[in-house]
Assembly symmetry: C2
Homo-oligomer: 725 residues x 2
């Protein structure tokens, strides 16, 4: 592997990043504020690593700035102006007050044509920047609820007023309303199943853009959870449909609109009751639709194909069962060079890997294998017959880019083998924009030629914390409570750390599936609040327990039917490690977490009241019976099927054990972990005579947005200052 | 005035009640817990002054115990058993598990007959305790929403399933349903106008019990305020109709059901929009109904008579207007000895006094007069042509019993002229049970013969705090901010008070109309929490500012259209007094209050951030636009009419001024001061970057009930312990 410019090599883990040894004499080191550190802070943008907005135009690289688009020379990084915002306005006849203001949304969708797609004065416009003129346009009005544009046909589907509409590529044609019964109960064209199973939208164009598959979700039978909007003159109830574990769930079906015939059919998938229709995919010829269909118990997953014209069920191509659960999160992907073969992601061998199937469902081979996981499929290289993926093969806390030959399974590392990479692939698959961080690298961007493995350093972010009192970040592992599994932790110590002192120490915890906290990004992915706490004189400690992501199926499924239990045991391994350190004050240990981490925080402070003096729990789950069907039942089954598990994990009976100071914080309108959780815990505390503290952010959901996050973190910090210091 | 037994005389005010000088050597003084002091505490019943449950049977005095009724000799206090619960069960054929368990609800409604009314196994029963047999019975089923029994006819009216029913005295007759459109929107037979204007029920029998007047309230046009019931499996919205200041209000009418004709008519009072129909009264002959009718602006009040048979409006008998407001709170009362004359209560001369009118509305004379107020009409003495009242003529903070001759206006004091008396009058008006407290008297009960003014000491409660470390209670006055008005305060100092020390001091405040905090009851009516705080080493201080009750119209109306403003000025006079005391630590002053007192607490801590270090505000009004029409507009007019007043009194713009520690506490389901108040204040604090604390009691309303009050006061105390001590 050739590296043209970048020479620094950083050990990925078990390394302590020190502050600069001595502050400059002339400029005293600056202190951080939450306005600097928090994402909602007024100075936040200046305090994070810089980046560059890059996009591919075929195999040509384009940098987007507000006022200019630059063509970037992939070998030298040299940039030349492609066109400017003023050019566009000139070509389009725009005026200073009515026209394009920024090119940041420009898209170059046609590899071999000089066309840029821009939203210009309420219209979707394709502009030929060589001919300097508009070549096509389409309204983009009323697309707020959802919309999907197809590059090939240039048709758009969108949802407005809860109804689904078709908008032709032909400007002169009127939009066609495809549904009439859309409502808050009948939801069209939007994400279903509460965004689980990798679902994040509900409109799926066929490759040719002539057929539209879309979700229809009937949630009329789902209970309303009341939500009080405090902001009108008189508060109003604005309920959410919220299917709780074990309760009646919604019914999803998939419709297909055919542009040519102007007809809509529905896939004949049978009774949708208690079934999940996930990961909609099209065959390259637009004739077949595939879904990964899961039963409500989530232990039986089938890949089924449907005729896109008639809706008829064609075949079950693949079936995967598991004693605990199967969790499909990625649609199948057909090989660009062979329409008869597709890639399926599965962790059936214990880790998420790629499998090659023929279109009839015959498994041809396992493409990747090993005790590491494929993190994403970045794209394909047709010429090489290869797939570009990211994986953590180099190290469990890293994310690196590999090219995998589909036929041979041979893997080639395309990056420097360190840190956490976020690659972007050119149209042919030959070139990569390789944006990455490493523990001591705020952000570098390299341009990689996968053919030659030549990497050109295009951008290196200056350290945004230069001149500040930066804390000490370190990373390591402890053994899990099973005695064998390595768990990764991060520790953040004050800039002026003195190992002869004893520090109050706060454990930040998440602990749930689908997430991790420690990785090989800048400062080991430290959250900004840890730096703030370090500055206040605390050590913070974060450990990814079993149940968290990217470590394989057994690691994640250790928590099945008993959420919180193994996680606590693992966290206590972390506590034992902390107690072994002479500079950790074992009498001043606190804990803080949000969401699943709020659940963990209250679990820990009530199960180990002698260990944890202070806790701050945000948006906590208290009893999984109040959490939603899709996520909750995957891990806990239903309250009816697993009463002992629900009882064991419920924090309601633990309310009486509260000894330390615990502040519970919720968004007053949290529609993810609904306030019934924390308020009923408070009710139990009141009955038991224990005294949690409580705060609610009016109008806020599961996470505090914007500057309210600064307020929140000031509040969390103050609580430890009041009671732990 | 003869006093047979009781000899102690206590100066009513400006007196310090000391603890016993030295604790007994043998038994160390006990410490209070909130279980002792708080009304929801497990030991509360043992820690309050004892009393006796006494009732009149004509002019004979009866004491009710669970198992026995005693006849009490009015001269000697000697008691003889009248009958027992076992007697009743024997007469009624009851069994140990199905029968009467307690006599505490016994009523002796017939002065000259040996009849006791009891609820026996779901029936309303009249038992002749001389004949030892049941003489009459009636079902009492389904009377939960409301019910009214008439002693003369023995008919009952009740509300069940939102419908109004008539239940005949004749056991064999079926109940008659009088309405069909009752609902949460159409409310029959219950209190209307949100319990303002002295209204507390909605069923009014004519004296002969043959005609029933009842309220009908149409609140279909009133906005719903959402309230989330957290206790079902999935939380549910259970909204309240809540008319906010300046918004659309309900419409009340008054129906009359005639038992004889089985017909219902409605009083022809005209369009009920924006009108208050209050203080329903009957003429002695049951032919006429009187109401005090008020406009929405509450500055124009008319006494109007109606024909009870036809509903026709007969005449306007009296009209009272005021530049600020008129507040009728008492129905007219006809003289028992002269059906052509009635008593009207009014504070038109500046203080609440009695006026004699003839039945045509001619004012005959003012019966009472002076710069003191009639607190209540206790009853009448027909023989003497006198009215028995309570008033604070002796002292603004006392309540004493007087007999007032209607013809001469001559007043005779019927009690010892001290303390706070709660008299109960015998049928003829000659005898009084005089239950009272005074600053050093936990509770005494005397039996008074109004004819001879002989007072027999019947009961003296032992001091329930004997053996405890009792704090020091004192009372005094300061001048109000107007420089002339005396304001009464109470101070509570630790038992071991040392005037050379400096104490943290907490001001407890209510401050609103219709209430006072300082009076001549036991320990100057000290709230139990003050004793708890004294034990923790705090001084507490309570001052009744202008705007509070019992001091006359000008005193109360000083706050008109600017609630909180004069009250704060007066409270600051109290603070100046405190600062003049060497033992008050001016750097450690806190403030606590609930409801209006919560409004005052936040007003004070944000207007005087340098004075108040810590505050706890419960159920606070934040902006009067969110409070209800009836109470709110009386004092503030509407937001439309008084925008500058609403703006001046709103605490929303004050959120930014918060410097000290402020905890806001609300019942999560407060339907009086709805949570929109405190949550929108918190929202303003978040926007301004200030940090109030917050707590909510799930399922609770405006006040914490039962043992939750113990939890609440532990919480309040802890906050001062954390931040003021």
């Amino acid at each position: 592997m050739k590296i043209k410019h970048f020479a620094g090599v950083v050990a990925a883990a078990l390394l302590t990043l020190g502050t600069p040894a001595v502050a400059q004499e002339t400029a005293p080191m600056k202190e951080f504020t939450l306005e600097d550190l928090n994402f909602g802070g007024t100075n936040y943008r200046n305090m994070i690593p810089q980046s560059r907005r890059l996009t591919w135009w075929g195999d040509q690289l384009v940098r987007l700035e507000a006022k200019e688009c630059y063509l970037v020379d992939k070998k030298t990084g040299k940039e030349t102006v492609l066109f400017t915002v003023d050019n566009v306005n000139e070509w389009m006849g725009g005026t200073p007050d009515k026209g394009l203001r920024s090119l940041s949304g420009a898209r170059f969708l046609y590899a071999d044509q000089p066309l840029v797609l821009l939203n210009y004065v309420g219209e979707r416009c394709l502009i030929d920047f060589e001919q300097k003129k508009l070549v096509w346009h389409q309204s983009s009005a009323d697309e707020r609820q959802a919309s999907a544009f197809n590059t090939v046909s240039r048709h758009t589907a969108y949802v407005s007023g809860d109804q689904l509409y078709f908008r032709s590529a032909d400007f002169d044609k009127s939009d066609i309303q495809l549904t009439t019964d859309g409502s808050r109960e009948i939801v069209y064209g939007q994400s279903v199943h509460r965004n689980e199973f990798g679902i994040h939208d509900g409109l799926f164009w066929s490759p040719d853009g002539m057929r539209l598959a879309f979700y229809r979700m009937d949630q009329s039978m789902v209970a309303d959870y009341p939500q009080v909007n405090l902001f009108p003159r008189i508060a109003e109830n604005e309920p959410d449909k919220y299917p709780m574990a074990g309760e009646t769930s919604h019914k999803v079906t998939v419709g297909v609109y055919d542009v040519a015939t102007n007809k809509t059919i529905y896939l004949k998938a049978g009774d949708p009751t208690d079934r999940y229709f996930t990961n909609v995919a099209w065959s390259p010829d637009a004739k077949t639709i595939y879904m990964l269909e899961l039963n409500r118990d989530q232990n039986d997953c089938r890949l089924v194909s449907y005729d896109a014209v008639t809706g008829d069920r064609i075949a079950e191509l693949y079936r995967e069962t598991d004693a605990k659960y199967v969790e499909p999160q990625n649609p199948i992907q057909f090989l660009p060079w062979d329409a008869n073969k597709f890639i399926l992601q599965s962790q059936k061998d214990g880790y998420n890997h790629l499998y090659l199937f023929d279109k009839n469902g015959k498994e041809l081979r396992q493409i990747t294998e090993g005790d590491w996981v494929v993190l994403s499929v970045v794209g394909f290289n047709t010429k090489n017959k290869s797939i570009i993926i990211t994986s953590n093969e180099c190290n469990p806390i890293q994310c690196n880019t590999w090219e995998v030959n589909v036929n041979t399974g041979k893997r080639t590392l395309l990056d420097n083998g360190e840190g956490w990479h976020t690659p972007s692939l050119s149209a042919s698959g030959r070139y990569l924009v390789d944006s990455y961080q490493a523990p001591e690298v705020p952000r570098n961007i390299e341009i990689t030629d996968a053919k030659t493995l030549r990497r050109t350093v295009y951008f290196e972010s200056p350290n945004p914390w230069e001149g500040y009192k930066v804390p000490q970040f370190s990373c390591g592992t402890v053994k899990a409570a099973d005695g064998t599994t390595d768990l990764y932790w991060r520790m953040v110590k004050p800039a002026d750390f003195d190992e002869t002192k004893k520090y109050p120490t706060v454990i930040y915890v998440y602990g749930g599936p689908h997430a991790h906290n420690v990785d090989a990004r800048w400062n080991y992915a430290s959250r900004s609040w840890e730096t703030y706490m370090a500055q206040k004189g605390y050590i913070t400690f974060i450990l990814d327990n079993r149940g968290s992501e990217n470590r394989g199926k057994e690691f994640e499924q250790a928590t099945f039917r008993q959420l919180g239990q193994q996680e606590m045991l693992d966290q206590m391994c972390g506590v034992e490690y902390l107690k072994s350190l002479p500079y950790v004050d074992a009498d001043r240990i606190g804990v803080h977490g949000w969401s699943y981490g709020g659940f963990m925080t209250i679990s820990l402070i009530t199960n180990y009241p002698e260990v944890f003096k202070v806790g701050v729990a945000g948006g906590p789950v208290i009893d999984w019976k109040w959490y939603e069907v899709m996520y909750g039942e995957r891990y806990m089954d239903t309250p009816q099927d697993n009463p002992e598990g629900y009882a064991k994990c419920s924090l309601l009976p633990m309310a009486k054990n509260l000894k330390g100071k615990l502040q519970i914080i919720t968004g007053y309108n949290d529609s993810t972990v609904v306030p019934q959780h924390c308020l009923m815990f408070i009710e139990e505390c009141i009955k038991a005579g224990t005294q949690p503290d409580f705060f609610a952010y009016p109008g806020e959901g599961h996470n505090m947005m914007g500057h309210k996050s600064v307020h929140l973190h000031e509040r969390i910090t103050q609580y430890f200052e009041d009671y732990l210091k």
